[in-house]
Symmetry: C2
Subunit: 357 residues, 2 copies
């Protein structure tokens, strides 16, 4: 797949959008976002864009093989619920088939919903009805379908999920958008950000999706399935442009922007997060390490002037570190979720950001 | 990641298993399979191994990025249901989080189950109970949790899914096994096949998983997340060994083996399927093309002697082609699924295979 006449190049955000095709569904998707944002403005709500799940990089035009980033979408789906609970309107921009708010509690693998449904025996089943009318020549009356109910053990938990789900649907404060490829992700992010700019400081970005750092420009994609049997496979990929840069400086300079850094080497966490903040100049980087991310994260943000002045040694810290930690041993019935504390802290900071306008 | 001192090589099945580590959960998984097969033998049932979903190829030891093959697992999950309906016991060896029999009807994305649950208003809710006891100084009696029921519109369909699901659980004819990486898939396939060999001709293999053709040997994996910022990414991958060869010739020579060929170029379908049959000498290759796979497939098998003799032109066909096709325009309420016809045809052939022993 590598081609000497078509070598790898470096893409800026500008050259990326100038050379890579816009997804066909973009216009319709953005129309929906536009209307959603209008309604939230009228209701005077803050709006947060939550991105969630991994992106794929197709290696073939007819996608069979692709490069993927690991993410079930737990962070994004869980966080979206806490934003909704706090009164935010949420645009949930997620990888297709990744976890979603509310339904995430009932994964087909770990907690399949069919397990706690039962056929209600107190209502006559169709066969009982049929045998009750054996001598009639009239057609048997339509047998009522037996009711299906939820087992007592699961009822209380499901009820609280279901009520929150139905309330959100009634208030229309959750808007779903999905992507698969990194190209769809980038085009959507740009268009949604531009739409959100009318919200000024009331717009928050919570960029939890695991976005690929590398991609294969469509100009170098193989049309059909790469045939095996020709020995080893060699892939040369280009860097995905750093999209936070235009997001912060052009698409929505007033937005409160939270990005994520995932590392597998915990010693890289803080320096990498500080580097990102330095490079893009946004509000918060949440650093998390693959193995402890469910109970420990660090929020890195530019140091407040007053805090800096308090430092007695005269060396002004450039960045604040704020660790959020919960007990890793949570009861399985009512586990505390770290996202609850993360969202509470962010909402507090977002409020300050809005007031300091 | 490419390394001149550690160049790509060609793996046979033998050298693969000699150099790539066995997954830690293998022994426990196989113990479960062993007991399942014992029970099915006592019940004199045929057992089919259904593999389903895509495999991943990790690019890092701490998996963040990986190469993936496209597959939601629809073919495997749907087929497993029809095998169960026909009285087969099913070992469902699937990619973690891919679709599963029965719950597949209620995808969180296309048909979320929370949409058809409702809180039953005929039972008093807890708040009504609380206000009914405002003057009592005794603690209010435990408020009963309201019942949750299924909407009338969805009830009939869910009832048939739920009854089939519960029947299968009662009869214990479905055994679940999951994998993520291509390495886990290969080790499981070998071990399960060896366990199934005690079933002789009553064992069927329905290998619908989308298995990667390429992998990165663990000896060349990067320990931590590959850092971007160093320009483009270059990956050199080796070929996955052709696992059908030892499956047919060593692990279970008596098994009835059905493999799949997926192509994006329909003209390659029949020649590729014939080539596979010629190379491995098993019973059936199902050829399907990415865009029409939901309503058209072709079964390629060695030509029967009697059919061959009937040919008047004297040239004996080496392979039979058997197309299965359904109308692509199916009603959304009760769509006909092509897997029903595929499984019926295979079960007929499996019966002949058993009788011809």
């Amino acid at each position: 797949m590598s081609d000497t006449t078509n070598e790898s190049q470096t893409f800026s955000a500008e050259s990326y959008f100038a050379t890579q095709s816009q997804p066909p569904s973009l216009a319709a998707d953005i129309q929906g976002v536009h209307e959603f944002i209008q309604r939230q403005r009228q209701a005077n709500r803050c709006v947060v864009l939550v991105t969630s799940g991994g992106t794929t990089v197709p290696l073939e035009l007819n996608v069979v093989r692709f490069l993927d980033n690991f993410s079930a979408g737990t962070r994004g789906a869980t966080s979206a619920e806490y934003f909704l609970k706090a009164g935010y309107a949420v645009i949930f921009m997620h990888r297709q088939f990744s976890l979603q708010p509310f339904s995430r509690h009932y994964s087909h693998t770990t907690n399949p919903f069919l397990n706690f449904l039962e056929v209600d025996a107190s209502l006559p089943s169709s066969s009982t009805i049929d045998s009750a009318y054996p001598y009639s020549h009239d057609p048997a009356p339509m047998a009522p379908t037996p009711q299906i109910t939820v087992t007592l053990a699961e009822r209380a938990r499901l009820l609280s999920v279901l009520r929150a789900y139905k309330a959100v649907h009634e208030q229309e404060t959750l808007h779903m958008l999905s992507f698969v490829t990194v190209n769809e992700y980038l085009w959507l992010l740009r268009a949604v950000s531009r739409e959100m700019s009318v919200l000024g400081r009331k717009a928050m970005y919570y960029l939890a999706a695991a976005v690929s750092d590398f991609f294969l420009p469509q100009q170098r994609l193989s049309e059909h399935k790469i045939q095996s049997g020709k020995g080893s496979l060699s892939i040369e990929m280009d860097q995905v442009p750093k999209i936070l840069k235009p997001l912060v400086s052009e698409w929505n300079p007033e937005g409160f922007i939270v990005s994520f850094k995932l590392e597998t080497d915990e010693t890289l966490l803080v320096p990498k997060a500080q580097q990102a903040l330095e490079r893009y100049g946004h509000q918060v980087v949440i650093g998390n390490d693959l193995h402890h991310r469910k109970y420990r994260v660090v929020l890195i943000s530019p140091a407040a002037q007053e805090d800096a002045a308090k430092q007695s040694n005269g060396v002004l810290p450039k960045y604040d570190k704020f660790w959020i930690e919960i007990n890793p041993n949570q009861p399985s019935s009512h586990p505390k979720e770290i996202e609850e504390d993360i969202i509470n802290e962010l909402i507090k900071r977002h409020k300050t950001w809005i007031e300091s306008a």
